[in-house]
């Protein structure tokens, strides 16, 4: 969710076609079949094809649901995800969210942050209070996403998008990211990716 690689656009086109009213009855019955198309970008085993695409396997189900809802509403902008989410009803979104949430979080093999960098990241965390929402070890809960082990490139882009309010579906996060010095955010991105 959020990236714009060619693969993803292709997925979106395919899915929109499948979801049209005329062929709705032809939709696969099981949720696993229903979300098969997602693997084209988010990965068959949960490892995204492109580093700018987020991990959604093992992500918090409430968070996945809210993002799908926001794509549909247009609160979160994405040329790829908006057409896909626009065909979903609430129950679809909840089912998809639950499906991906129950999958194991994949290990991208990103290196652990160096000690000095990690200490800087934790100082920044202490100042802003990230774990007040993202919880201990950045595991997330409910509508708050897991950040630990997320793709570094995706984290960097998301934080940048919050700072410019390009990502507009959580102004509270924009406020917090704007209050944090860029060097501290770079340390946080590195630290989180390596968890």
């Amino acid at each position: 969710m959020g990236g714009k690689p060619v693969w993803f656009i292709a997925c979106g086109v395919v899915f929109v076609a499948l979801s049209s009213a005329n062929v709705r009855s032809a939709l696969a019955e099981t949720i696993a079949e229903k979300v098969e198309v997602c693997a084209g970008c988010h990965g068959q085993g949960g490892k995204p094809i492109d580093a700018m695409t987020p991990i959604i396997w093992g992500q918090q189900s409430g968070y996945i649901y809210i993002q799908l809802r926001d794509f549909k509403r247009g609160d979160r902008k994405s040329e790829v995800m908006q057409p896909i989410a626009s065909s979903f009803e609430k129950q679809d979104m909840l089912a998809i969210a639950e499906y991906f949430s129950s999958k194991p979080w994949p290990d991208l093999g990103q290196p652990r942050s160096a000690k000095e960098n990690a200490e800087r990241a934790l100082r920044a965390e202490h100042s802003v209070g990230c774990t007040g929402c993202h919880l201990d070890q950045f595991q997330g809960s409910g509508t708050v996403p897991r950040l630990a082990g997320q793709s570094r490139e995706y984290l960097t882009k998301t934080i940048a998008d919050f700072r410019t309010r390009t990502r507009g579906n959580n102004p509270g996060m924009s406020d917090l990211m704007l209050a944090t010095p860029p060097d501290d955010l770079a340390a946080l991105e590195d630290y989180l990716a390596g968890l």
Binding site: S61, G62, Y65, I66, R73, D75, L94, A97, E98, S101, R112, K115, A118, E119, L122, R123, A124, E125, H126, S127, V128, G129, T131, G132, C133, L135, D136, Q137, F138, Q139, S141, G142, T143, A148, G149, R165, N169, N170, P171, G172, M173, S174, D175, L176, L178, A179, T180, G194, L195
Partner: protein
């Protein structure tokens, strides 16, 4: 059974902060955990009414309906406390922030954890009797941790409010669900972390959500059926008030009233998404049939430009009629708050000295500002406020885009932590945070139930944080004694007739102090942050002190999953 030794407890939580994630917050315990029946007689209203005199039990979140957190047992006292030792440790299945107030009924203890789990334990041994694992809805929206502060029992039901904003009644003997009611929509920012207060067949419950643009409330539900009895909106449709320019202590808050009036003409009364959560239990005045509680911050927290007016009844003490939920009186501490220095620590009913020296029914509240406010219970009017318990600097500088430094930081002073009182000494005991912060303002439209801070408050990295335990004479407003602590204090405190106060710290220390002098008399290291309010009770002729040691999300203290009970040899 989940009882472990002291050695296990002290080893617990030695993980390095730089270590990687340990997985989910839920910890798998011994799979052999047979359910047993909790053998307790139904709790009567008469028992609850006289809870303040009951040495055997701890029946309400803050000890009794007046919320004094003063326990009448005196077996553990200034002479004997040196012999206090661990009776048992129970480990829950959830290693995350722990704010529970243990409730004890006839030798059965009820505790809760983050994510709204409930356990019934044998209060003498710590043995698990039953465990309620709430099936959480996928959408939860909460500020400051997935906490739960406890349950209450009336009759044969245990009442719980859950993170996904449901009210649940459980069979006290078995933990089975008897009824369940939706309180509000989590997708719009509502959640529950407080313990219900149950009185006269009504379950009183507020709501969280002041960081998400909710419209707050306090409600009464029928204790037998879960049906709504009455609703009080903490934000009235006319929320503008009197354009107060000074806070409760008389300091100018630097409001731009002209700009606010212009905004009001443009956008109208902002009541519908103005916040005003109720984080903690109301106190119940049985003599007048009134309840007293405090209301939290306006939404968005730091950006006042979009919410003209005093933002009634945010940051206020409010009194209602218990039977009808009708408004009786209020007192607002900070009108048009743009610092999140709101009112969260529960109100306490004690007799106080009026301005002319008479003993009258009073109500006191410890603020994030660091003052203890003393009110006349008759009309909510302010009699006095205490000396500041924490450093105050640069109040009330307005937040800026670059960040304006002000003390106290946005957590207080006194956060949600309940205070304790000793009526014989006329003392209130509060635990405080000292966290220098920058206050920053940003402007954004209402985000449909998402986090809506209107800026950020950030701890200043190179300024030292600390905490304290402070005893305040509420008849004079003077500080009697203060103990400094190395870290900010959050969790709660208990006073006893044994002349002691008990409280814990984020570093795992749990200690007893002489309630007259503040002298430390005993301590224990729990291995995880002790950031929950202690309780006391007696079983088998022995007095116990019990407290949760699970750390804290808001201040990021070391997590754990321990309930630790202490007694004498």
């Amino acid at each position: 059974m989940n009882s472990y030794s002291i050695a296990y407890a002290t080893l617990f939580g030695l993980g390095c902060v730089l270590a990687g994630p340990s997985g989910a917050q839920e910890v798998k315990q011994d799979p052999w955990s047979p359910s047993r029946e909790a053998k307790i007689a139904p709790v009567t209203q008469a028992q609850l009414d006289s809870a303040d005199k009951n040495t055997a039990n701890f029946l309400l979140t803050n000890g009794n309906y007046a919320q004094t957190r003063f326990h009448p047992a005196r077996q553990i006292n200034r002479d004997t406390v040196k012999n206090l030792h661990v009776a048992w440790i129970f480990q829950t299945d959830v290693k995350e922030s722990m704010e529970t107030s243990p409730i004890v009924v006839d030798g059965v203890m009820f505790v809760t954890t983050s994510f709204s789990h409930v356990y019934a334990l044998d209060a003498k041994t710590g043995q698990q009797l039953w465990h309620y694992n709430h099936k959480m809805a996928p959408v939860t929206t909460f500020c400051c941790g997935p906490n739960n502060r406890g349950v209450q029992v009336l009759g044969d039901l245990v009442y719980l409010a859950t993170l996904d904003s449901k009210l649940v009644a459980l069979n006290a003997k078995t933990g089975d669900v008897v009824w369940k009611t939706d309180i509000a929509d989590p997708e719009l920012g509502y959640s529950e972390t407080m313990a219900p207060t149950v009185v006269k067949d009504k379950v009183l419950i507020g709501t969280n959500g002041g960081e998400y643009g909710i419209r707050g409330f306090l409600r009464a539900y029928d204790a037998k059926t879960g049906k709504l009895v009455w609703n009080f909106d903490t934000i009235p449709e006319k929320s503008v008030g009197v354009w107060a320019t000074k806070d409760a202590t008389g300091r100018d808050m630097h409001r731009d009233i002209a700009a606010e009036k212009a905004q009001l003409a443009k956008s109208g009364d902002p009541y519908a998404k103005l916040g005003g959560g109720v984080w903690q239990n109301p106190a119940v005045d049985l003599a007048t049939n009134r309840i007293y509680f405090v209301v939290g911050n306006p939404s968005p927290d730091l950006d006042g430009a979009v919410r003209p007016g005093d933002n009634l009844y945010t940051d206020s003490l409010v009194a209602l009629d218990l039977d009808t939920g009708k408004y009786v009186c209020h007192f607002q501490y900070i009108a048009h708050d743009v610092w999140d220095l709101d009112a969260v620590s529960p109100a306490v009913l004690v007799n106080v000295r009026s301005k002319d020296g008479k003993s009258i029914p009073g109500v006191i509240h410890a603020g994030k500002t660091g003052h203890i406010y003393v009110h006349d219970r008759k009309d909510c009017s302010l009699i006095r406020f205490s000396e500041a318990m924490v450093p105050q600097e640069n109040m009330w500088v307005l937040p800026t885009k670059e960040g304006a430094r002000m003390l106290p930081g946005a957590n207080g002073g006194v956060e949600w932590s309940p205070i304790a009182t000793d009526p014989d000494q006329g003392l209130a005991y509060a635990i405080n945070l000292h966290q220098p912060m920058h206050y920053r303002v940003e402007n954004s439209a209402y985000p449909n139930g998402k986090l809506w801070l209107g800026g950020a408050f950030t701890a200043i990295a190179d300024e030292k944080q600390s905490g304290n335990i402070t005893a305040v004479n509420y008849d004079t407003g003077k500080i009697k004694w203060q103990v400094k602590t190395p870290e900010p204090m959050i969790g709660g405190i208990l006073a006893t007739a044994g002349g002691l106060v008990f409280t814990g710290e984020g570093n795992g220390k749990f200690a007893a102090y002489n309630s007259s002098t503040g002298k430390e008399l005993w301590s224990f290291h729990a291995g995880a942050g002790v950031n929950a309010p202690p309780s006391s009770y007696m079983v088998g002729g022995k007095q116990y002190i019990v407290v949760g040691a699970g750390g804290n999300t808001q201040v990021n203290f070391r997590r754990g999953n321990n309930i630790v009970a202490f007694t004498l040899d």
